[in-house]
Symmetry: C2
Subunit: 440 residues, 2 copies
């Protein structure tokens, strides 16, 4: 499926005017950043970079796209001609997927002619805003879970394709698996799931349902024990599966209280190895509140795929520098009330203290070679910008299943590097300040 029409109309109308007035070829630098984090977040988690890169080669205007654009009179013939040959041939740099980010972090920088870079705004932002919203929420959940596995089960509460991206983003931020089969296939994620209440209700009684499930899936399965009465459900589960039952799932009621009761019952029945998994409107706070309960894993749905209070990030795609009439690259910035942007082609690094923990986000503005030299000469700076696309060619290490696995590893390191207070769930300041430095 092509992605070229997943685009706001104004990108094409701007292109038409720029092709006509000769500015379409001006070299431009667009920067993706967010102005602020939700008040209760101390860091954001970048996700979706790999998906942007996977989608980039599909951003082509095919014959049927062009036909519709012509018929709907979106743009003129000259613009249609340009679009017919469209290929992104520029450069994309940015934070590697899984990195923490902060206000003003230039998480992605797209360079090319105005024509080729302006068209990517909507696609880039759609992917990064949604995926990062999910990953930023997911990271707080896996942090609150303190090592107990978190499992993604939110597909039904997200658009059917967004659900696949959500499963991927959750994995980047430490989730152990997903219920979503397509995410399992496409990104090599572990898939999980055994039965819903409907399976119990389908059968003449709970015992018959459990027998059927154990016969089909073995006694290592997870039995859902709260369709009727939890105590009777646990009793029947062990009667049917024996003390080797893999797990029971609780999906209702006061999970903390029930987990204690069920653990006691399982132990009394001799099922000391049977685990307890809980699902039901969990978020990072509910997970934290269950820390002392005998829960073995968390299934998280709604709150995960909707970003736990922040269903999108506020990332924007702003022109920060462009070739002027002289042919030189010049910084540009708007001065709109409360929505200013800062001009200049920037790079970024994380300043690391003597204890190995992050101290500041350092954004560096200046000529590319000077910035690179300065960052590499500074022992306390970890450079954040990586080459993602060079001369239009995507660097394959960021995409597909290997890209996702690497991003998950990277997120763990990036989060471990943050100051200790960064994992607090309470409202408060961002974990590290952002400082800006101009070299010239």
């Amino acid at each position: 499926m092509g992605t070229a029409l997943l685009t706001d109309r104004y990108e094409l109308t701007m292109l038409q005017a720029a092709l006509a007035d000769g500015t379409a070829d001006r070299h431009c630098v667009f920067e993706v950043f967010t102005r602020r984090l939700p008040s209760w977040r101390r860091y954001g988690v970048l996700a979706g970079t790999g998906r942007v890169l996977e989608l980039l080669p599909t951003f082509r205007f095919e014959a049927d796209d062009l036909e519709w654009l012509a018929q709907a009179r979106v743009v003129d013939d000259r613009t249609l001609d340009y679009l017919a040959g469209y290929r992104f041939t520029g450069e994309i740099r940015g934070y590697a997927e899984g990195e923490a980010f902060f206000p003003s972090s230039p998480v992605m920088v797209v360079e090319g002619t105005f024509a080729e870079a302006v068209l990517l705004e909507t696609l880039v932002l759609s992917v990064l805003n949604y995926d990062s919203a999910v990953a930023s929420a997911a990271s707080r959940m896996t942090s609150a879970a303190a090592g107990r596995p978190c499992l993604e089960m939110g597909s039904r509460r997200a658009h059917e394709r967004a659900a696949v991206a959500a499963a991927r983003a959750a994995f980047v931020a430490g989730f152990a698996g997903t219920s979503n089969l397509e995410a399992g296939r496409r990104y090599g994620l572990a898939t999980i799931g055994t039965a819903a209440h409907a399976f119990t209700l389908l059968h003449d009684d709970e015992t018959n349902a459990f027998r059927s499930q154990v016969a089909s899936a073995g006694s290592s399965t997870t039995l859902l024990v709260d369709t009727y009465d939890v105590t009777r459900g646990v009793e029947r589960a062990i009667q049917v599966a024996g003390t080797g039952l893999g797990a029971v799932r609780l999906d209702s009621g006061d999970l903390g209280v029930q987990a204690v009761e069920v653990r006691r019952q399982l132990d009394q029945l001799g099922a000391t190895g049977t685990r307890i998994t809980v699902t039901s409107d969990l978020d990072e706070y509910a997970i934290a509140s269950l820390a002392a309960s005998p829960v073995d894993s968390y299934g998280v749905g709604t709150k995960l795929v909707t970003g736990s209070g922040a269903p999108t990030c506020g990332m924007v795609y702003k022109l920060v520098a462009r070739e002027g009439a002289s042919g030189e690259l010049e910084p540009v910035a708007k001065t709109s009330a409360s929505k200013t942007s800062v001009g200049g082609r920037k790079s970024a690094a994380r300043q690391i203290g003597d204890d190995g923990r992050a101290v500041a986000e350092v954004i560096v503005d200046g000529p590319a070679d000077q910035v690179a030299a300065w960052v590499s000469d500074s022992a306390d700076l970890r450079p954040l910008h990586q080459p993602l696309v060079t001369d239009g060619v995507v660097d394959s290490r960021w995409v597909g299943a290997p890209g996702v696995r690497a991003a998950a590893d990277r997120h763990q390191r990036s989060r471990d590097e943050l100051p200790r207070g960064a994992r607090r769930l309470s409202t408060g300041d961002v974990a590290i300040p952002t400082t800006t430095l101009t070299l010239d």
Copy 2:
């Protein structure tokens, strides 16, 4: 693109067990409903029905799907054989798209064998939960706008494919157009958009940018006047385009105050017909607060595509009746704490008072023929269930661009029919109570 793997793994593992124990063929009735609305909503708006029906024929397990399921050992060979031949051959009834709904409204009812109906849970819920979340928010926005056009511009703040669904759902709830080109193409929606700040910044100065845009798009275009100073921007806009300029757009600052100032300035310049469109973090409350301001249209983004505080609906897909060992259809229900379901194959009607306004949501449980006769004999009941799929065949009037247009008309009627208090934005009770009636 196939949709069969946009599914939670447990649906397939349940299927495997049911195929093995002989219950897979039991006739089942699954019901989609929500337990509650967000506290500040007096009604919900059903959207996505047409999309469910469009996606249903693509729910096929193709060779590559089956190959992956086998390789990942999700299900056994017998189940793979069943999936290879999977076609939904059952019935789907439900509320027509655009209807208002309330807690417990049975907005969709899926009937078929357990095997064929259980597999649709995730896809049906993903579509209805997201699309209805957007439409429910959108309806409050168009209501608050009181006839001024609302335009959808939120693609960048939603997953790239969800953005298309959001534009469609917004249109169902009264939006006049969208920035999203794919939504324009697929559903015949009007597309809008002229220029971003980047276009002004690309040029050597604002006047040059405006000249270029007017040369390309004509003086009926909308010029974005807040890149630098709004007063100077408006002055330049009229200098360049003349007093016949179509509109100016304000995207920052205090929109209410600015609209007054800009209106006065435009009138003084003689541009009395030039409209003012505003964009910038609008939601239903911001729109309501601008009711007395000289604003001509609203562009809405983030809050629309994220459901303005409720980014998903809480719709669930519950087994409410199934064929028992005797071969008779029997109501079934779970009794889990705070998550009970009500058994029985139900229909629904809206009770209308003498003033033509809705009085109650009436859910009727009983034999299909008796329910139908009772509803049609009751002069004050408007039946809500429509046939959507019969013997596996989708009724074409609900899908595509015609389906969306009909849903938008229907929503307007359904909203007009609600009690007058239903449009209040404040927190409060749902607009009408839900009552349940059992015939036998």
